[in-house]
Amino acid sequence: MAANRFNAFQNHGVGIGLRIPHYEHIFANKPAVDWFEIISENYMVDGGRPLHMLDRIMERYKVVQHGVSMYFGSAQAPDREHLRRLKRLVQRTHTPWLSDHLCWGSIDGTYSHDLLPLPYTWEAVDKTAARIREVQDFVEIPVAVENVSSYAEFTASEMSEWQFLNEVVERADCGILLDVNNIYVSSVNHGFDPMDYVNAVPAERVAQMHIAGHTRYDKYILDTHDHPVIDPVWELYARAIERCGPTPTLLEWDDRIPSFDEVWAEARKAERYLQPVAAHDEEMAGASR
């Protein structure tokens, strides 16, 4: 796997998002999943069943934290209580890295609970990078930022989304959680070539990848995480793996969640792309020895 400093040099393989409807199956059948991604906010509580279930999962599996409300791009200072709770959870899970989104979502203390897109401006680059650094310093583990699906573009934007991503991660010196489904969704909604995006990402900074399904409407695509991954998204994934090497990969399925076996079977399709690249890498390493 593409172990690098942004994923703490961990060789995680293919994982899926940990979801409540699957708990029973996981505890009863102990499936051989490489790792689970948890939504940090679901476990940033003081006690009760959520933390108990998490502890049971961690007895057998590796978990990696993924957040949905850090809002690196919000113009105002982060909520200190949020950060304290996040760090407490990091100490509990020993997550090797954590991720959240390159977006904003709160203003004047009110939360949208959505992943709102940023204007791709130099001001946003500076502020977002500074905030990622602040969070990274606080949690004391590598942070990776995820590109989001978006449905609107701002008149104020001064660069493409991938240029914006590259500028932010370079200045923050952080990793990337590359969501190839989000690239596809945004490419259809905004009319760009998704392969241009994948080809522009700094491969050495990619800590993790996300794959997922979405819903197509007449005039746009919505990132719903309630369908299997479509072929054009697998093609983007194949190219991303070709560029970045075998990278920890996670399937997200958040709505109309099917059986555990169905979700896991969909995630394991990623191995078709990971294994040949891993074998090639090993061959090259052997030849150089």
Partner: protein, 307 residues
Amino acid sequence: MNLEELQREMGAAVMQPLTSDESMQPSDTTGHWQGRAMEKVAGEFIRPNSRLTAFERLEIYNRQYWFRLQSSFMEDFAGLRSVVGDARFEAIMNAYLAAHPSRSFTLRNLGSKLLEWLRSHPDYAGRRLSLALDVVRVEWACIEAFDNVELPPLTVDEVASLGAESRLGLQPHVQLLALSYPADDLVLDMHRRERRESSEAGVKAESVDSDRHQSLRLRKRATWVAVHRVDFSLYYKRLSQAEYRTLAALLQGMMLHESLETGFEGSRLAAGSRVRLVGQWFTNWAELGWICRHSSDSESAKGSERP
């Protein structure tokens, strides 16, 4: 427009209430833009594309915001819906969420001000206000009891050795309720139905038909309940009035003898019977792990550990 100003503009647009057919308002209804057309407002910061206008692109976020909050609210207050009916519930939900948008990184706290809000806006609940308030009390107590912290409990022996001047703490997950109706029965009935729906679907129920949510017919009857947690599951324990008042007094920080005096105020129970009853209560509370150190004891214990 700098980043903060842009986010304030978009935030105001995204959180503006939807029309009755769940579209974005054609004109500003909040006063933020002095009633201007939202098409003009959206065009000032959103770029259109060949398929969608700036208004339509902003509307996607406006709708998603409301759908997400409404979905969370409906999940938390299904009992309230069954009491007031779909139309009133929708009005309560939209007015409450407009008045109290989320101020927390988690949607868990979305309904934290609902009881207070409904009390000050009684017309929304109609003639079933009193029952609606009770159901909100129970449903919010469930949220608190579900994931509040559990402190180290006092053992049965420790509880037995307490003196009259002791001050005690209650587990933060224990939620004491004094109700006008046995509203816990209604919420329990709802949860039973939800569990059945969940197991049949294999996943969490998404939406519920109103006719399946006819609530139990309840008669007014003073009811005291503790919503609490045992082995990570929620339970409702009915209390006598004296037991409730004693626990509430302990929670307020009164000494043990003061709490018992408060609990039995006006009671005609003979002294011997009170002693037996109090013994049973404390044994039961200790077995359930409800009793813990008073916060001042915990603080001083922590303080004494410091070098």
